[in-house]
């Protein structure tokens, strides 16, 4: 699967992205790493160009809820990008713990999953399940059912 990996518009952190690229590549996926500080326009353009099977947004600067919401809304509003799976994770607010209300806002906007900081097991499970679904979708008998 081709995975588009990206930081958020105001987030300059890089190590999370370097790590996630290696992590996803070890799961045998191809990773396009857009790097830090990716504005919504660039993210949408990169999605159209690369046609990824999954978009992974990572943010650790405390603006993740707000920036992530803006990014997801932009992707969901873009023709042809309404269905591409999008997940987000990291330190999303300035407080230490996850904020359930703001996570729910992200889901309502079209985010398929919101991961806690450091929960790469949940990310791996999501990617594995997504891959299984893709394989299932591609089976001929299902395609004709």
């Amino acid at each position: 699967m081709k995975i588009l990996l990206t930081g958020t518009a105001s987030d300059s952190h890089t190590w999370n992205l370097v790590y996630l690229q290696l992590f996803l590549e070890e799961l045998e996926h191809r990773v396009v790493n857009l790097g830090p500080c990716v504005p919504d326009d660039l993210l949408a353009a990169a999605c159209r160009r690369h046609g990824p099977g999954l978009v992974v947004i990572s943010s650790v600067n405390g603006h993740g809820y707000r920036d992530g919401l803006s990014a997801v809304r932009r992707l969901r509003g873009e023709p042809g990008l309404g269905a591409v799976p999008v997940v987000i994770g990291g330190k999303l607010g300035v407080a230490g713990a996850q904020d359930p209300e703001r996570a729910a806002l992200l889901r309502a906007a079209g985010c398929d999953a919101v991961f806690d900081d450091g929960d790469v097991t949940a990310l791996r499970d999501f990617v594995t399940a997504l891959e299984a679904l893709d394989v299932f979708d591609a089976l001929p008998d299902r395609a004709t059912a």
Partner: protein, 453 residues
């Protein structure tokens, strides 16, 4: 026992350190506050200046933070850390966040009116308490205009250090922006005031960059500032994985500054307490901070920017910052300055490597900004793990068994990679995680009195 126990009670008002009046200011004339002169005078009387990283969007809270910094039992300078919307130039988002009541991760200096920032600083900013604006922008113009309008004159950054690790501004643009930024700061803060610029080059991605490259980038940015009209600079170095290698690095930076900076340019070295993944335990965080304070004093850095025990978890509170400042100050007082007159002139490994980088860049031309661009384009400078499109991305580093940072792959850089028998295995995500968490793990698991660095 940790140093926190030795620190005086937090909040105890301390007599502010007051530098002697600068020559030329006659008796009765109000002394002109100057960041560089304050640090120089503190150093001359044997005091390490300590400084927090601190920024709040609410001006009242920001003022409280500065008041508490000023009142701390330490020789302090204040910090206004700017939020990351302002840093990337998205002032509309900063303004919208304030309107929505969404907390920002710093003080939006270009969004709050200058009068508001002046009120926030009123009675605090003076010759005993300089305040520096810290941001991280590759487009610093509006921040520089805002800080000057608010009566401030000290900030930090640099054409490389605020570009490559921080986003996607092309290096060419960042060099032009910072050249204009330096000239703007010099023009907006006219003599007898002395604008001050600190290079962030000693940090870059915070960790896993071998010290020789950090030292070289910091020195070259200092030269760049001087070429663009700044007469008071500080050169930075961020604590890395090995105390002995770090000491070499700070000494190399001081020596290179003496060798390469124009003599009339005021300068000092500022040390950053570890900027990588921070220990999660209170005792681990405290001993790492204490090790950085000892390093600063031993190696001759004149200012230290501290980290707090909350660092691994969230943005620290004012209390946590004050505690860190007082801990660092109390450790600095207890640390003996090593004589070691030879250590400053010794051709250490870090000095030799840094000098090779500096010479390779300066050989590319007299205009430091242009030379830096060419050096990155050719891969003579190549920051490991940096994803910026203008970084060659061929270099790789590792922490050796003794704890020193070394090159496993030097790409096109003018230094030799370390040879490892049988070659090195490709880096895995677990390997990277182990490397970036290595120092934190060492401090978290150490018995409390160990690792005195």
């Amino acid at each position: 026992m940790t140093g926190t126990v030795l620190a005086p009670a937090a909040g105890r008002p301390a007599a502010r350190f007051r530098p002697a009046a600068a020559p030329g200011t006659g008796a009765g004339a109000a002394p002109v506050p100057s960041f560089g002169a304050f640090v120089a005078a503190a150093a001359a009387s044997g005091r390490l200046v300590v400084q927090p990283r601190m920024g709040f969007c609410d001006p009242a809270l920001m003022r409280t933070g500065l008041e508490r910094t000023k009142a701390a039992a330490a020789t302090t300078v204040g910090t206004l850390t700017i939020d990351s919307y302002t840093r990337v130039g998205d002032e509309a988002a900063a303004r919208a966040s304030l309107a929505e009541g969404v907390p920002l991760n710093g003080y939006p200096i270009a969004t709050h009116p200058a009068a508001r920032t002046r009120r926030l600083l009123d009675g605090l900013l003076d010759d005993t308490f300089p305040v520096q604006v810290r941001h991280g922008s590759s487009r610093p113009e509006s921040i520089i205009r805002s800080l000057a309008a608010a009566g401030l004159d000290a900030t930090e950054g640099g054409p490389v250090s605020y570009c490559l690790p921080y986003g996607r501004t092309p290096l060419r643009e960042s060099v032009d922006n910072w050249a204009r930024g330096c000239e703007l700061l010099a023009a907006l803060v006219p003599a007898p005031r002395v604008p001050h610029l600190e290079s962030f080059g000693g940090c870059m991605l915070g960790q896993l960059c071998p010290p020789g490259l950090l030292v070289a980038i910091s020195l070259l940015e200092g030269l760049f500032f001087a070429q663009h009209g700044i007469r008071s600079v500080s050169l930075s170095y961020a604590q890395q994985t090995d105390p002995a290698q770090d000491e070499e690095a700070v000494r190399a930076l001081r020596r290179l500054a003496a060798e390469f900076l124009p003599p009339e340019v005021d300068r000092h070295v500022v040390l950053y307490t570890y900027m990588g993944v921070y220990p999660r335990t209170e005792h681990g965080a405290a001993s790492l901070l204490e090790a950085s304070a000892r390093l600063a004093v031993r190696a001759g850095a004149h200012r230290l920017i501290v980290k707090t025990a909350a660092e691994a978890h969230r943005i620290p509170t004012v209390d946590e910052n004050v505690r860190a400042l007082e801990t660092a100050a109390s450790i600095a007082v207890l640390t003996e300055r090593h004589g070691m007159p030879d250590a400053d002139t010794a051709d250490s490994e870090v000095y030799a490597e840094a000098r090779a980088f500096v010479e390779a860049v300066l050989d590319l031309g007299a205009d430091v900004g242009r030379a830096l661009r060419t050096a990155f384009a050719r891969g003579y400078l190549d920051v490991p793990f940096c994803l910026h499109p203008d970084n060659a991305g061929r270099s790789r580093s590792f922490v050796d068994r003794g704890g020193r940072l070394r090159w496993s792959d030097a790409g096109a850089m003018p230094v030799a990679p370390s040879l490892v028998a049988g070659g090195r295995a490709a880096l895995t995500s677990d390997g990277l995680l182990a490397a970036v968490h290595g120092l934190a793990a060492r401090y978290d698991t150490a018995a409390e009195p160990a690792l005195t660095g």
